[in-house]
Subunit: 267 residues, 4 copies
């Protein structure tokens, strides 16, 4: 049981690092998953860049985004935890959430231009990508989603969909499981890149039909393509020397100052 949780935390660290290596998340952004056996809790790293997250950095939170046990001295959580907690509350079918600021989405976040599925992998954006504008309910803010009511408002904007664009800020992605989350995060970014490239050509877009989008969505989420992509991304992490250390080693080596044996080895 404890071992299963350790494996889950390791997988979550892997997911954090994949979306970093593939260029979606930089210093900021975060990736969480619902607790595998306690649906009223979720797992997320302490406040660190996803690229450096290890299993030992991951803590448990209630759906009100309170740590289940107080964080150790000197350890801080992310500021925008309510994005995760409020979506898990509102959407029992969602078991993994990512929040990021990929450059490919920011022009859409800025202008409010509608995203459309433009190739088979782009069907992963879902049937509609709603917008959330912090100004509508909260006026001038620092644009972050920090208060429970802001998180609830965002979760409401997400509604039954799988992506929501935050005006002048970034993207939040939801999924049924962690592999699907990484898959959707990466291929929705490719679709956004494609839409930018195609629009810059000044020619009319030709999106998938709703029927095509639904069939492509289903196909992409079958076990074979999901496993193939996961193997590919893990292999790229390994080649880059970024695959996270096993939990036991990591526990011993990590300190609050972020110096780990793994890093030393990588120099």
């Amino acid at each position: 049981m404890a071992d299963a949780l350790a494996q889950t935390k390791h997988d979550l660290a892997v997911a954090n690092r994949i979306v970093s290596l593939e260029g979606i998340i930089d210093a900021f952004g975060h990736v969480s998953m619902r607790h595998p056996t306690k649906p009223d809790r979720y797992l997320i790293s302490r406040s660190r860049s996803p690229e450096v997250v290890e299993a030992a950095d991951i803590y448990e939170y209630t759906l009100d985004s309170e740590p289940v046990t107080p964080l150790p001295n000197g350890i801080r959580g992310y500021g925008e935890l309510v994005i995760h907690g409020e979506i898990y509350k509102a959407r029992p079918d969602v078991n993994a959430v990512a929040h990021h600021h990929s450059m490919a989405f920011l022009p859409f976040c800025n202008t409010g231009t509608e995203l459309l599925p433009l190739f088979h992998m782009g069907a992963q954006i879902g049937d509609k990508v709603p917008f959330w504008d912090s100004r509508d309910e909260f006026g001038d803010t620092n644009l972050l989603v920090l208060k429970p009511e802001e998180g609830r408002s965002l979760a409401k904007a997400l509604g039954p969909h799988w992506l929501v664009l935050l005006r002048r800020h970034g993207v939040t992605v939801a999924a049924k499981n962690l592999t699907e989350l990484v898959f959707r995060t990466i291929y929705s970014t490719r679709n956004a890149e494609l839409q930018l490239m195609t629009q810059a050509q000044g020619r009319p877009l030709s999106p998938l039909t709703p029927g095509e989008a639904r069939l492509a969505w289903e196909r992409n989420l079958e076990p074979r393509p999901q496993a193939r992509a996961w193997e590919y991304w893990c292999n790229r992490l390994r080649k880059a020397g970024e695959f996270p250390a096993p939990l036991k080693a990591a526990k011993k080596a990590t300190t609050a100052k972020g110096k780990t044996k793994a890093k030393t080895r990588r120099r």
Copy 2:
């Protein structure tokens, strides 16, 4: 004889990895070649990302895309095998095929804009790049080419040409041999990038004349430029630590779970 086949499989693994390293293929896409001595068979990897393919992953298929001997337990083939089989059937002059979703082509796949040869290396797109739209015969699908009749329809659209663009999906490339396939796949992508960049400037394109295109095509396929490019790409694979292990070592190390000694060494 067995050794010659082993070398062929190794070369095919190299080709898989070159198009991955050069940024044409990501987790999805596939590269095949006709069997060197049995023209009614072709060789292609089991379902894995081309970036991780090794010689031991390569199996023989009939032109109806059935495995010549049943695949081992736990091993699956690619879903879109019929792309390869049906083209080998329809085109006896084709001995190598790649299918990919390079971002540079996707705006053309989406809008249906015609590709033109814009520099000497771009002559590799051939005299015309036809489109295939799955909607025309098959209506709403998941856009993949999965059924024999879909493969036949695509092969018919390719006709006597060397590239065919799949609307809202990707590209299929054909060639007389494996080196030519890699060459055409890479330089047709550069030409697509160039066309996107030039169109974004809003100035009229100045394509090669048909005579220039034919002469440049012939020159690029001479042994000297082909060998020079192949040496260059292999060298880049080696520097990146991506050159596939020799067949014997790979056989021992590979398992269905995709853990190989080669990978461990690369960390």
Copy 3:
């Protein structure tokens, strides 16, 4: 005391290398900081590309941009030192300055198009980004800022702001401390990239309101996000083998010819 200065020089070397690794500075450009205990001096590398700067390369200058002690034989300072000295003179609140030619800013430097904050991190450009045109006071020059009067003119154009764009040349960034400088340099570049991408879509921009920009600016400069980003960038330097050697080792190994043990090890 001497040790504190050594640490400061090491930190400045780290800052030089971060902005290089993150793609903002190439062979040219420079990063300085005010002396931590003598506010009428500043610290900056001898004339070397920021990517290769080590603590031992850093010298002290007066605010008139004269070396405090003569530079060793064969050692030369940067040509544009007055950019740094004149800004430190004019702006007692500024303790760190970077000058660069990032491609993302150059289209704005060329055309004179106004920069706008387009996402929360983009608030780091400040409330206004003024332009300085060397032609206005100095007519035809080589565009560099070489004379004290040119430096003073640039500092005047900067005024109370934090970035100033040099027409047909580049960018100068100011900050209260070194971490903030790196943060502002990187995220102002992301904002410039975003503005280019959004403008290329031909849709109207939706900038932050002044209230949003002020709140986002303040939030980003809080200790937690600043520390998180710094850890992230240092980790990336370490993984790339670019983290500068400790001062003691560097002193021994560096010569005026730029051969260091660190470099040898990196091969």
Copy 4:
């Protein structure tokens, strides 16, 4: 004397690799220099991609592009040698030549749009960049510059300038020495990138005045910036493991098949 020539060949190998690592040249393209003591000869690699060139690959040619001593068995020269020979003949002030197909220039090569110096480093394009169109004198060709009369025609189009764009083909760059050649090749590419980016914004360009361009050109070619850039590029080669092996080692290790110890070590 022999040692001086060995050092020159080593420097030429370094120059070949710098322009490759910095992304200007891929599998094709070539870099040459005039013989340091015999002005009626020039040095250039046998037919290999510049990224893999070593000192031992470099041979001497007459200005009629004939090898001074016959090439060893199995060794071939580049096809477009006359580009180099004819420019050295026509321009006694030119001592180094590069020919490449950088993507940044190809849109200009295609459309015939005039290049303009848009920032201080961009002054390296020179006061004018003429075009050469193979169609004008030679009609339909494979676009390569293969015959002496084609080389002479190109050299005539270059005239007293330092860059010439070959319509639907690529770029030829000339310089007074090897460092200047690398510098001009890289920064003229940056200027082309900048012009593409700025034109995509749809705003009028603001080029340097002729006076600014001349002063910036002179400044950039002074010893200090030239040395600083060369140190930077060499350091990047070293970090990438691409700095060529010393001549003695290379001689022993290289064979006509292109397997070298250096490469083996790099795996």
